[in-house]
């Protein structure tokens, strides 16, 4: 017996004797799908904020490393010009990756916000 929509209310009491009240093609029970379980309520370490925090801090560590190397080269403590450039490229790539993750997260959020419409 469907409770959604108008079909349920149009049930003719005379027809209810003809149509079997239990539908054989209905899914047996939606609650026990195999392989699908409720999301684990993780501890503090796996919260969304901490994931983003870890991402940002690792990108920041790469940028700090790059700026340290560049400063050492500029101050003459080090002549590894290519190491400095490579570290900067690494930092730039990590930043780009972080931006892409941010874009994906914001896209998902906006998609969820559009859900009622």
């Amino acid at each position: 017996m469907s409770s959604i929509g108008s079909i349920g209310s149009l049930q003719n009491p005379y027809l209810s004797g003809l149509i079997p009240s239990t539908r054989t093609d209905a899914p047996a029970s939606i609650g026990n799908l195999s392989g699908v379980s409720a999301p684990q309520t993780g501890g503090v370490g796996s919260s969304f904020g901490n994931v983003i925090d870890g991402l940002v801090s690792s990108v920041d560590a790469k940028q700090t490393e790059a700026s340290n190397l560049t400063r050492d080269v500029l101050l003459g403590k080090n002549d590894q010009l290519h190491q400095s450039m490579i570290a900067m490229q690494e930092a730039s790539t990590a930043f780009g990756l972080m931006l892409q993750v941010r874009n994906k997260v914001v896209d998902s959020y906006q998609e969820l916000m559009r859900m009622p419409a």
Partner: protein, 141 residues
């Protein structure tokens, strides 16, 4: 773990080639040096590279292990230098001959160009690795 793959291997190669270029510069700079710290004429230095195991996947000697390169040793070229007759030279011996360094300018130029081109080749590896990483980031767009 680096974001741009294989970049630390290339960084090692860049470092090694830069050292080689430094040694070539030292050889050219000392091409006329007839008295070193030991009182002898300058001897040409040669650089030899050796592999450096960065990350090991599986057993040693496995082809999958990542091998970078580093400067193995810097050695003296012991071939005798040219003897030039110049009695007025301060470092001339009793017969008036001066032993010049065994630096051959043509060899040094060839070495310099080889080091420079090898450096460029490694730089283009860096450039391509970075481009590949950036292209991978474009998957999300």
């Amino acid at each position: 773990m680096n974001l741009i793959s294989g970049i630390d291997v290339t960084a090692g190669a860049l470092n090694a080639q830069k050292t080689r270029l430094d040694i070539v510069a030292q050889n050219i700079a000392n091409a006329q040096t007839t008295r070193g710290p030991d009182g002898l004429p300058y001897q040409r230095k040669t650089v030899s590279f050796e592999t450096e195991l960065l990350r090991q996947a599986g057993s040693p000697g496995n082809a999958a292990s990542v091998q970078s390169v580093r400067v193995g040793s810097i050695q003296n070229d012991t071939t005798p230098g040219q003897r030039v007759y110049d009695p007025s030279h301060p470092d001339a011996d009793s017969n008036g001959y001066v032993t010049m360094p065994n630096v051959n300018m043509a060899y040094e130029m060839v070495d310099m160009m080889t080091a420079s081109r090898a450096y460029e080749a490694n730089l283009s590896v860096v450039k391509n690795a970075k481009q590949m990483a950036m292209k991978a980031l474009e998957i999300g767009k």
